[in-house]
Amino acid sequence: MNTHTDQADPRTPAAQGGSPLRVVIFVTLFVAMIALCVGICGQLYRFLTMVAAAFAARGGDPAKAGEVMKNMAWMVDALTAATALALASIAIRRWIATHVEQRAAFLRTFFLYLCLTAGVVVVLFPFFWMLCTSFKPAGTELLINTSNPFDIVPAEPTIGNFTKVLKLDAAGAAASVDPVEAKKNFGTYFMNSLVVASLAAFLVTLFASMGGYVFAKKELPYKPQLFGVLMATMMIPGMMYMVPQFFMVCSMGLFGTKLAMILPHLASVFGIFMLKQFMETIPSSLIEAARIDGASEWQIFRVVIIPLAMPIILTLFLLTFLSHWSNFLWQLIVTDFENPLSITLPVGLALFRGQYTSDLGLIMSASCFSIVPIVILFLFAQRYFIEGMTQGAVKE
C-alpha cells in the first residue's frame, strides 16, 4: 500500500530517495535554525536589557549603564539558550513524530520558515539598527564589537541623544535663553506633525464621507460625469501641483503656517472613491426607513451612514494621517525655517541632518520620533492599514 502511494504521487520524489539524505538536510536546517535563533533572540534580549540599563543609569552615564548590562548578561544568555532549546526540542519532536512519507513535506515547511525568518531580519534590520544606534554615546558609533561584528547593540548605552534632540540637556538649557532656538527641538516638531496630520485626517475623512455618501446613495444631475472627472484627476502625478499650489498658498498669505500644509490636500479623491465603494453596500431600505421616520438628511447621514461606514472611515483616517505624517516635499516647500512652529518631523529631520552630518546617534534618535509612534500605531491597527491600502488596488 505504501509503495503504491509513493509511485502514484510524483510530487514527492524525495520519498523514494535515501533517508540519509533527508537526515543530512534536516541537520543542516536544524543548525541554521539554531544559529538564526541565537542571533535574533540574543540581539533582541540584549536590546531590551540595553534600553532598561540606559534609562536606569542616573545622569545617562554610559559606563554605569554598561555595568548594569554586564550584570544582566547571564540573563540574556540564559533566555537565549532557553529559547533555542525550546525551538530545538519542538523541531526534533516534530521530526520524529512525522511519518517517513511526510518527511519531505516537513523539510520543505521547515525550510520555508527559515527563509521567511531570514527575510524578516533583512527587511526589519534597518529599523533595529536605528534603535540600537540611537542609544550609542557620541563618538562610539564607530566602535564595533570585535569578537562579534554582528552584535550591533551598544555595550555602553546612553539616553543622552534623546535628551539632546529634545534640548533637555545642558546645551539645550543654554539655548532656552533664546525662546525660538529652544523651541527648535523634536518635541515641538513631533507636536506639529501630530496636529497637522490629525487635523488633516479629520477634515479629509469628514468631507470625503459627506461626498462619498452623495456619490453612493443620493441623486445629483451629472453625477456619473462628475465622478469621471474626479477619477481622471487621480492619474495626474502629484509633482504637477507643486508650483501652482505654492503660488496659491503664498498669495493667500499662508506661507509658513500649518494651514498651508493641509489646505491643498483636503480634497481626497481617493477617499471619495474608497467611501463610495463601501457606502454602496449599505442597503437603501435603511435610509428610506429613517426618512419615513422623519429624519432630516443630516440626521440620516449621522445616525445611519456614519456608524455603518465606521470601519472604512477609520481606515481612511489612518491612511490620511500617515500620508500627512510623511508628506515631506510639500511640508519642506511651505516651511518657514525661522518659525519653529511650522517645522514638522520630516522637515526637522532634514534640517537636523544638515547640521550633524555624521553624528549617527543623534540622527537616529531623531528618526525614532517619526518611526516609533507609527510602529506602535501599526501594532494596534494593522488590519486597517493593510486592508485599507490594498483594497483599492484589488477592486480596481
Binding site: T109, Y113, L116, G119, V122, V123, L124, P126, W129, M130, I144, P149, F150, L206, F207, M210, Y213, V214, K218, E219, L220, P221, L230, M235, I236, P237, M239, M240, M242, V243, P244, Q245, F246, F247, M248, C250, L263, L266, A267, V269, E297, S326, F328, L329, L345, P346, L349, S358, I363, M364, S370, I371, I374, V375, I386, M389, T390, A393, V394, E396
Partner: protein
C-alpha cells in the same frame, strides 16, 4: 419623485458635496490651469506674482528643443533629458525587482503556516514608515567607514574594499541600484499582500486538475499562477511608473541627485530623476520653468497611461 422633491434632493446633495467640491475645484482643478499659465512666464527676477514676465513658449523650447553647436545637434537642456533617462532606469530597475520580490514573498507565505499573520505584518510594516526617515537610515547603513554595511563587510572582507572605502551611494554606477534595493525592501510587503490575496482566490481545483494532467510545478506556475496574477502585475506596473515619475524624497534623502558623472561634456547627477530635477528648478526660483517641466511630465504620464489602456483594453474582454 415629484419635481420639487427632486430639486430638494439635488440641493441637499450639493450641500453635502460642497466642502469637497469647493476644495477640489480650488486646489486640484484650478492649479492644473494655473500651472499652464505659469509655464508661459519667466520668474527669474525673484519670487512674487508681480515679477512674472511673459515669455510665450520659450520655456518649452528650452526644455524640449535642440540647437546646432560645434558641428552637432545638442539638447537645449541635456540635464532634463538625462533626468528622464534616469527616471526610466529607476523605474526599469525598481518595478520588475519590486514585483519579483513581492511575488516571491507571497509564494512563500501562500502555504499552511503558523504565524502567517506575523510574517505578513512584519513584511508590510516598512511600507507605512516615513520615506525620508527610511532614506536617512539607509544612507547611514551605506555610509563608508561608519555605516553598518561598511562595518560588517570590513569584519568579513577586511577594510580595503568598496563598501568601506567608497560606499554604494558615492559611486555613480552603484548609487541608483543601491537606492532601488532599499526601496524594494521597503515596498515589497505591499505587493506581497496584493499577490497573497490573489493567490488565495485561485481555486485549489485548478491545480489538482493540472496535477492530473501531469503538469510540473514550474509549468503550473508559468501557465496557471502567473496569468491569473496578471491584473495585480498590471496594477503594480502602473503605480510603479507613476511612483518613478513622482520619486523625490528617497533621492533627496539618500544622494541629493549625486554623485556626479561626466558624459560627453556635460556633468550630470547620476541619480537625478525627473522629480528631483523639477524640485531643483523650483528651489532655484525658476517657477515658470518648473511648471513647464511638470506639464511635460504630465504629457508623458498620460501618454503611458493611454498606451497601456489601448494595449490592455482588448485583453480584458
Amino acid at each position: 419623485m415629484s419635481a420639487p422633491q427632486n430639486s430638494r434632493e439635488t440641493a441637499s446633495s450639493l450641500l453635502f458635496l460642497s466642502p469637497f467640491l469647493i476644495l477640489f475645484s480650488v486646489f486640484l482643478l484650478f492649479p492644473i490651469l494655473y500651472s499652464l499659465y505659469l509655464s508661459f512666464y519667466d520668474s527669474s527676477q525673484g519670487f512674487g506674482l508681480t515679477n512674472l514676465r511673459w515669455v510665450g513658449l520659450s520655456n518649452y523650447i528650452q526644455i524640449l528643443g535642440i540647437h546646432w553647436e560645434g558641428g552637432a545637434w545638442k539638447f537645449n537642456d541635456p540635464a532634463f533629458w538625462w533626468s528622464l533617462a534616469v527616471t526610466f532606469l529607476y523605474g526599469g530597475l525598481s518595478i520588475p525587482l519590486g514585483i519579483a520580490a513581492a511575488l516571491f514573498l507571497a509564494l512563500l507565505l501562500n502555504n499552511k503556516l503558523y504565524g502567517k499573520n506575523f510574517f505578513r505584518s512584519a513584511f508590510f510594516l516598512p511600507n507605512i514608515l516615513d520615506m525620508l526617515v527610511v532614506g536617512v537610515i539607509w544612507t547611514l547603513i551605506y555610509a563608508p567607514k561608519y555605516g553598518a554595511l561598511a562595518q560588517i563587510s570590513s569584519a568579513i572582507l577586511g577594510p580595503e574594499q568598496f563598501f568601506n572605502k567608497v560606499g554604494p551611494l558615492a559611486s555613480p554606477y552603484t548609487a541608483l541600484p543601491a537606492i532601488v534595493f532599499a526601496m524594494v525592501l521597503k515596498g515589497a510587503g505591499f505587493g506581497m499582500v496584493l499577490f497573497l490575496a490573489a493567490l488565495q482566490n485561485i481555486p485549489e481545483a485548478v491545480y489538482e486538475a493540472a496535477d492530473i494532467d501531469g503538469a510540473t510545478k514550474s509549468q503550473q506556475f508559468w501557465y496557471i499562477t502567473l496569468p491569473l496574477l496578471q491584473p495585480i502585475i498590471f496594477f503594480m506596473v502602473i503605480t510603479g511608473i507613476i511612483g518613478s515619475l513622482n520619486a523625490f524624497t528617497e533621492i533627496y534623502a539618500m544622494t541629493a541627485g549625486g554623485p556626479q558623472i561626466v558624459i560627453g561634456d556635460e556633468t550630470l547627477g547620476s541619480t537625478s530623476v525627473a522629480g528631483y530635477y523639477l524640485y531643483k528648478q523650483f528651489e532655484g526660483g525658476r517657477f515658470g520653468y518648473a511648471a513647464a517641466i511638470s506639464y511635460v511630465l504630465l504629457a508623458i504620464t498620460l501618454g503611458i497611461t493611454w498606451i497601456q489602456q489601448r494595449f490592455f483594453a482588448g485583453d480584458k474582454r
